[in-house]
Symmetry: C3
Subunit: 356 residues, 3 copies
Amino acid sequence: MIDIDKILENYDLDKLSIATLASHTSLQIVHGAKLEGFKTIVIVLRDRLWFYEQFKHLIDEYIVVDSWRDVCSKNVVSRLRESNAVMVPHGSYVEYIGLDCAENIEVPIFGLRGLFRVEADQHLKMDLLKKAGIPIPKIYSFDENIDRPVIVKLPGAKGGRGYFVASDSKKVFDKLKTYVDRGIIKSIDEAIIQEYLVGVTAYYHYFYSPILNRLEIMGADIRYESDIDGLRRMPLEVINAIGIEPTFTVVGNIPLVLRESLLPKILEYGLRFVEVTKKYIPPGIIGPFCLESVIDRDMNIKVFEFSGRIVAGTNIYIYGSPYSYLYWNEPMSTGRRIAREIKLAIEKNIIKNILT
Amino acid sequence: MIDIDKILENYDLDKLSIATLASHTSLQIVHGAKLEGFKTIVIVLRDRLWFYEQFKHLIDEYIVVDSWRDVCSKNVVSRLRESNAVMVPHGSYVEYIGLDCAENIEVPIFGLRGLFRVEADQHLKMDLLKKAGIPIPKIYSFDENIDRPVIVKLPGAKGGRGYFVASDSKKVFDKLKTYVDRGIIKSIDEAIIQEYLVGVTAYYHYFYSPILNRLEIMGADIRYESDIDGLRRMPLEVINAIGIEPTFTVVGNIPLVLRESLLPKILEYGLRFVEVTKKYIPPGIIGPFCLESVIDRDMNIKVFEFSGRIVAGTNIYIYGSPYSYLYWNEPMSTGRRIAREIKLAIEKNIIKNILT
Amino acid sequence: MIDIDKILENYDLDKLSIATLASHTSLQIVHGAKLEGFKTIVIVLRDRLWFYEQFKHLIDEYIVVDSWRDVCSKNVVSRLRESNAVMVPHGSYVEYIGLDCAENIEVPIFGLRGLFRVEADQHLKMDLLKKAGIPIPKIYSFDENIDRPVIVKLPGAKGGRGYFVASDSKKVFDKLKTYVDRGIIKSIDEAIIQEYLVGVTAYYHYFYSPILNRLEIMGADIRYESDIDGLRRMPLEVINAIGIEPTFTVVGNIPLVLRESLLPKILEYGLRFVEVTKKYIPPGIIGPFCLESVIDRDMNIKVFEFSGRIVAGTNIYIYGSPYSYLYWNEPMSTGRRIAREIKLAIEKNIIKNILT
């Protein structure tokens, strides 16, 4: 168990810096941090340094590593602490540095450290949503007969890679076996089999502020996935000629606003998520999270996945979203909102409440 | 006939407030009204009050009702008038409170009251477009043989629910009969049968300013509909397994900009709409409206529907749209534009020109 | 060879104006120019004048022409030079006024004049990308057997019209022959046959600043094409009934952000494009350009087309894009960025470096 309070004792709270891994939403995070007056740090892979040097005006310190595995090295950790760094974990954080480093790094984290373990396991994840009272798709156990289309997902944030659709048990197991054989997963029960939801996908970005005791809707998006979103505009003759089985590799995000009459339900599910994390993983979620859903023809929402951190879809709204303008009369990205929360916490002298 | 002038005699024009029904585009409307310095009122269903209380900073007064039918009650109407309220009707206004209340409520309305009746009837609606000289799809009469794909629509703003596609007369009538049997419509001729237009949909948001005598293009959007927009990315094997007949329930909106070379045509159709309403429903359209179209491969535009009020697609542009920035060098949503028009009218002492 | 330096000798650099053809991205260009304090000129077809007069607040001078062919007339050229005009060529520039006028007009151009000729020829175009080391789709020669789906494109900026998809040699040639017969192309080898790329399309907007010696990512978009993007949401029964062969007429653009982990590759390809133009078409690209790509399931990017000028997709970002906010802490469209570059060049007294 990391003793964050003790680490913070050696911090100069007037000189906090905001650190993140250079990828995913890091430009948004440092952009927002600068707007709020913080010093910024990115930990960057050597071969991407040239790219992040394009944004020198947003980045005060580069910690260059040869591998993400170095993030938990003594050297990096002590540099971070010397700079009074608060780490902002984003959607690729655990995938890059591994669960063990993510959970145990001796640097204060803005967010809920205890959630990483849950997020890494598809079954724990869906279980948490269920406990929250948020509607989820039917989950098939491995001995159940599959009698309708399902989507099969692999563990971890793989950006949609490895997902596949099937309509019978044989196909599900044959395919999973090839993944085991290729070493992509260790055993088939690492995967999760979910009912294929008919409707449209929608991803809701939230920000829970322990300081203001308020849950804000920050935006919404649709993912842009290769090759599934390309197939939809392929002439049938091409599909027939190529005979493609679609993949769901997320390559980008498209902005979305929801019917206002859906917002109460969306906020309610967000609040349930806040409550369930407070109950089972105290002190509960801090800052950004995302519920990932399908909305059906009767406007029922089922949540098939969540992210307990900032998601890539928020990159759409670097200058604020239609929703964030309703709360803040200034351009407020999720990245900036994180920095604002830290600033408010410092001003109120309760920074410990939002770091784990 | 409501005597608006008489109602306004008892109003303190320096203390006007802007009122709307809490749904659809109400957050945009009150957000814009606050930016222009107005007091704001929402009429809100009791069970949604908690949600709108999240936006206390935007809402000065809540009028809580147990049913939308209460909006025309003496109590609500007198509270509105005590607060010098101007009602802003949005796309769900008539659907919620009913045509009779919508037309007869003794509160000044920003917009064209006389248009509600036309909008409630698909046939009158298409007729108005035709009179305007705006290209529309072929409308089938009920004794005509249907020889190609058509889309059949039910009356009123049903958010796309109940629309269906068919390619022969039998299917059209069989389906409509089930709607009559289920009490969704009273007789089949409440529906309208339109040629299925091949092309892409595009929705144009306009604002007609009687004060500036100018028609502004406020933005454009694409609707995001369940489940039709989900089907397009479903693997064929899933579609075959499920055998779904698509629905067109609008759940959200996606931003769109048009080729600049299409804009003159889009503005021209908007101007024709302004003119036709001036001629047949004086004093003509006031403020926001929307033309809903399909653009074909040769860039011909056919308008299959309109809304004489603010549409949900404008929620995308709460901080201004690519087009509104061309007119206003500040963030100008349609909600804010409404409040600005009212403000300009007060300043010029011609508020009566924009209320009905 | 135009002697730009000599023309500039007679210019009053303190009174430069920014001129463009009224279409495509002209409203964005003049909007941006006004924000930077420039006088603006549009050359406008007589029958569109009424439309551009709606934007009088953005346009200081209208040069009305009866045909785009008049742009190179003595009269127009001398009016432009009297107003110390810098011409900003956009994506429709060459299509409207013809290659000869585009190349030889005796007015300074912001952009690389020498690139027009390359852009007009699909084969030279793909060749330049290849020389740059940017991955491109396989190009079929006309005597090669076509064994998989290909997309066939006609020369020039035709907004996607005339593109078609085929999977065998016979169909390719039959169709091309009809185009020759109808006089759309002179001979079949004006067309280019490219491998049909499986994945999703993405268009990247860049701005190369010779003044700051920096390549900026200005945004990204997806095109909205009729009727292909409408077909994807057509019920199969309708497609079967109509039996449509899709077209790719671009009618609009939809915003997109990319995964941050793709940005280094996207910037790298942009830099390669800058370098190849510097080497083969000195002084190299100036200002806006666009790479048009497909991203496959493994996140490989192949570029199937480019535009050496401002593209219509930038119209999405008239108030800045998620990316432009990372470089500029103010709303920076590509149109405004052009004007800013000219302003910076004047201040540094090196305006000649960015005009050709």
